[in-house]
Amino acid sequence: MASRISFTQARLEAELERYRAECQWDKMPAIVEQMQAARIHEDDDYGTLLMAEALLEECLLENMDLLRRSKPLVDKTQPKLCKAKGHLNTILSRGRLTPRYLNEALLLMAKVHYVQGRYRDAQGMCARVGLEELTQDDQPTYHLRLLAEAFVIKGLSLDHQTLSAVSRVRLSEKEEESLSCYLRACDAALSYLQELDKSAKTILLHSPSDIELGYFLQAALQSAYLCLLHRGHLAQGAHQLRRVLRVVESRGSQNFRKSAARKLAEVLLSSVSEDSYWPPLGPPPSAWLHREGAAASKDAIYPTVKPPQRYSIECCFCPQDVVEEAILLLLITESMASGDAVISRLPDQAEARQTSLQDATSVYDLLTIGMVRRGQYAMLSECLERAMKFSFNEFHLWHQLGLSLMAARKGVGAVSVFKECARMRPEDPSLPLLAAKVCIDQLHWIKEAEALSQSVVSMGEEAGEFLPKAYLALGLCCSLQASDASLTTDRNDFNKKALNALKKAHSLDPQDAQIAMYLALQLAIVRQVSAAMEPLQAALSLCGDDLHSLHLLTLLLSAQKHHRHALDTLNLALGQHPDNFNLLFTKVKLEEVLLGPAAALHTCEEMLQHWQNRYDVSRSSPSGRKPSIHLTLPDFQDTSTGSQSPSSVALSRLEAALSEVSDLSSTRRHGPTYIWTILERIWLQAGELFMADSRLKEAQFCIAEASSLFPNSHSVLLQRGRLAELRGHLDEAKGLYDEALAMHPTGERILVHTGRLLVKTGRVHLGEKVLPWSGLGEALQSRDSNQAPDCFLTALELEASSPVRPFTVIPREL
């Protein structure tokens, strides 16, 4: 017989096998006809078997939903099923098939029983299938599919019968058996899909989207892990998920991989903590298995006959941490889910769009959970941006994008996204406020922030608990604009508006310490010093160790010239916030006033040390010992032991400090700019103190140090100018002041010094233009103007309420 197989028969058989492998049921009737025409398989029921298979499979595809919900298919409503069953009954009763095809017929019958809810019969049929027949070498590809389906039908039938099992032992036996079926079904299904790929590569006929997996194949792929997870066996479920994901992807497995990867990520993120994590390539730790009542992982117990091909473990990335693994899986899933997202908005595709959107959203949600745990906001915002192309009007994803941009400090993007969110949900007061916060804290877009907070304010009662916050934001915006305003009338207007808004905020929510503090600050700024005390007290009673409140209290006390109290308060604040440079700068100023520049210099030295401990990461070398900056100055040494002249000691120590710091500043200056700005300011502060102490040489070193950091900063230029002035190099000083003014034309201190210098050099008229009240008074006096006393009086008034540092050193942030 075999030798006489005709060319037509060989071709037809090959084609048949391919169709059966690829589940192209619509092609069946035609090919069966051809077969009959060619008089092949005349003497058995193979043709009928093929027709039965095609009918049954088509029926199953049509009833996917019922199958999924385990609803039995009824004869009455399913003509195709009826017909198929009829065919199969005929075939089986006639018994004319060879064992191979008989096996196939039995399996089809098992399927019929299963879908009609006769699980015991289905199981019985499966038992009659000779599985060895299906696992031999050189089997056609579709046999792997049949194998997978046979296992999963058996497993599912067993599972359905556990309901009726009475004895506990029997129950767990059945459970164990069904699980072993699922595990084998899964491996067989994966092998099948890989084989399908291989054959497709040689024929190259179908695009990937053509592969549509039937219910039983999908069940074969998923049942093992679903069953384990369903029974609460997290570790084994996760292990099974890892096993299937380690299998090399094939066209048909993409969708399955997508949901499996997401499932695994979900399990990892929701139920596996860092300490209990085990690496992807090993079996679950015995403690986990023990907890789940298993002795070993199931794949060790039930080895597969024909395992699918898995990814190599050589030179590739293997996650070491639970979040790493989850993020890797989610990135893989995201690359698929975002590609499959339906963009089209045709009404008839609304459902598909919704499904794909939910699909993608769940991936992005998990990605967010993982990335936030590791603080990866920038990367998260990039991922969420990718989601935007299918997220039109989808509030959740837009909101998340805005938040991620805000957290990643990408302020400009965050503001526009929040505005878009607010358009989608105009009733939500938190959205404009989030945008306002970004505007104030990150972008300094005060006008924009004002409009945003105003929009919430005008919501009134609707804004609920956000209303006080909105007034606070409004107040801060006005206050900041007042500080920026150059015209007095504008400034007064803004200050008034700020005060009103803050008062309103405070009356709406007297329990809010931040609001109370900012109200006090605003009162202080407009120099209602004693009025400021009341809300400040409220703020401090709500939050006694608040940094800004304590700082403000210090400044207010200094404005009332209670310098001693101010210093005590400051030390209290420093006890709670020891590393705060802003406080330390205030301390320096206070000490200068109270104790003189030498004492203040001591604090400067402390600050330098603080700075080094905190920011100089390069120094925290494995040796452990951190070398420190020595600004130990002669004043603090026992003078009796000093044989060197004080200044030379200071000089050498300063030089040492200088080289140590500039070494790192020039070669390894990285990190955010603000830490270098702090260092610059410390050096300049020290320089000023030295100048106040008339120690110009030391001052020069400090200023040189600062200028090595930011040679062109206006504050450096100003101090260099002052130094030149003190040394009598007036022309040089004038030049430096001019340069500083060019950098910062409205710098008050620069103007003062320029003005004084101008007066000093006899150019009184020019000086008058830039001087403040007291300086102006001096200038006018110097040319005997009768306006001088008025100026002095104004100066005195202001002086009487001015703090050691301006109140505005307290940051106004939402």
Partner: protein, 503 residues
């Protein structure tokens, strides 16, 4: 406190002291059998004034210092309760400060921030990248979409530090309090899988209380403890949420979802983006999980998840992936005639834009206006477009004296002509235009209109000069969001769609 509880605790206090080193691990394993012990210890911690508190804290610290993982976890399970005790006492300004709790927490912190050799511990993790092969994928099989993104920009795996190095702390200050507590929660979260349900419940309670005390919501929850507001930080809330998430997914559904809501409530009031991000994500993922399980119809057996294959979605549906193969259609108004009047602007494949782009690779701009349509797609695309005729027709229409009133009113609505995306195989027949409009390629065109109407007076007819404001840069990838250039800066007043890469 009952005498019995006291007895249990006292026994526990004494037995560890006499334990030989060799017996520590068996002792650790036997702890979980002492059923009455853990509840009794909770009582001690809750009752701040108990004389037992100090020895208990001391003992818990000894457990932690032993290095035996099981003993360390025994101590860690009380962490939420200890945190609450510390925070509530400090909020209530209780003069009776819980010094021993502070000492215990600082002690654990100082032990945890260093590794075995006493070096500062730095927690880092590798950012996975799709451009590198992994045990789960091969870069070649990942669609170009994901790889053209940041994945390739910073290709290779980068390692980032997410916690540490931390400084040793001798005392709590306002400055370091939340830094220490956040780190302690991080340690607790790392051991979540080992925590008992009592501990998880305690964590949920801690989270709720920290977030709502002193706020109107406290009445809703009927919690009658302290009523002063507690300071929190965003990072602290993020750690709380991580724990709540675990609790939610592992049996503590009620307390967990309450706690999550309370933390989100507070995070929203404080405008904390980090906590809101993760909290929203968890809420949304639970919501979709609930939707799924609703479909389950009480099934006892496992439910196979039938993922719709792309072919089942609909072959015509435009997906992000298939969009590359699609044509861009443009049409002016709903009452336009036959599909012949719709013309291709261009067909651009694989996101490679023809010519024109400057050295900084700015994507080409399509500027659309009512009167003049300029397409800046480069010469090659221009040839394809042949826009000349269309444009002049447009002009005629506008300038013509017979412009119907209806068209004029629609003008405002359609002031920005839409870029309509249709599937290439379904060229709409006459009359199908309305649905075509609905197809409007979503994100781009509609968002335009919204932004347009938001920024410009909606009634105004857009003149050619205004037209320049609406520009859109389309690229297959990374189409991100609209960023209206802020009107208070001097930058060009255009609204442009920014692309992911240059942000």
């Amino acid at each position: 406190m009952l005498a019995m509880d006291q007895g249990v605790v006292e026994e526990w206090l004494s037995e560890f002291k006499t334990l030989p080193d060799s017996a520590v691990s068996t002792y650790a394993a036997s702890l979980k059998d002492k059923g009455a012990l853990v509840p009794a210890l909770y009582k001690v911690i809750r009752e701040n004034y108990s004389d037992l508190l100090e020895p208990v804290c001391h003992q818990l610290f000894e457990f932690y210092r032993s290095g035996e993982p099981q003993l360390q976890r025994f101590t860690l399970q009380f962490l939420p309760e200890l945190l609450w005790s510390l925070l509530s006492v400090s909020a209530a300004r209780d003069p009776h400060t819980s010094g021993c709790i502070e000492a215990l927490l600082l002690g654990i912190y100082n032990l945890e921030i260093v590794d075995k050799d006493g070096q500062s511990k730095v927690l880092s993790f590798t950012v996975p990248s799709l451009s590198k092969p992994s045990v789960y994928h091969e870069p070649s099989t990942i669609g170009s979409m994901a790889l053209t993104e940041g994945a390739l920009a910073n290709h290779g795996l980068s390692r980032v530090v997410y916690s540490g190095p931390h400084l040793q702390r001798e005392t709590f200050t306002a400055q370091n309090r939340f830094e220490v507590l956040t780190f302690l929660l991080l340690c607790y979260n790392a051991a979540l899988s080992y925590m008992s349900s009592t501990s998880l419940q305690s964590l949920c309670q801690l989270s709720s209380r920290v977030c709502i005390c002193g706020y109107p919501r406290q009445q809703m929850r009927r919690y009658k403890g302290i009523n002063t507001r507690l300071t929190v930080t965003s990072e602290f809330l993020v750690q709380l949420i991580t724990g709540i998430h675990y609790a939610l997914c592992n049996g503590e559904v009620d307390l967990g979802s309450k706690a999550l809501d309370d933390v989100l409530y507070r995070a929203q009031l404080e405008l904390f983006p980090e906590a809101l991000l993760v909290g929203n994500a968890i809420k949304s993922s639970l919501h979709s999980a609930a939707l799924k399980s609703n479909n389950k119809e009480g099934a006892r057996s496992i439910q196979v998840e039938i993922t719709p294959t792309s072919s089942r979605i609909s072959r015509n549906a435009v997906t992000s992936l298939s969009i590359r193969g699609h044509r861009w259609k443009r049409h002016d108004a709903v009452d336009l005639g036959s599909p012949d009047e719709l013309m291709d602007i261009s067909e651009v494949d694989e996101g490679v834009w023809p010519g024109g782009a400057g050295p900084d690779m700015t994507p080409p701009t399509i500027t659309i206006s009512n009167s003049v349509t300029t397409l800046n797609l480069g010469a090659k695309a221009m040839k394809k477009c042949r826009l000349g005729g269309r444009t002049s027709k447009d002009k005629d229409k506008e300038a013509g004296p017979l412009m119907p009133g209806r068209a004029a009113s629609e003008n405002a609505e359609l002031s920005v002509k839409r870029l309509t995306l249709t599937s290439s195989q379904s060229v709409p027949k006459a009359g199908a235009l309305t649905s075509l409009t609905r197809t409007a390629s979503a994100v781009f065109s509609r968002s335009f209109e919204h932004v347009a109407s938001g920024n410009a007076p909606p009634s105004s007819n857009h003149t050619a000069s205004e037209a320049g404001r609406y520009s859109c840069s389309l690229q297959e990838e990374g189409l991100a969001y609209l960023s209206p250039a802020p009107n208070h800066t001097q930058r060009s007043p255009s609204i442009s769609v920014h692309l992911g890469s240059d942000l």
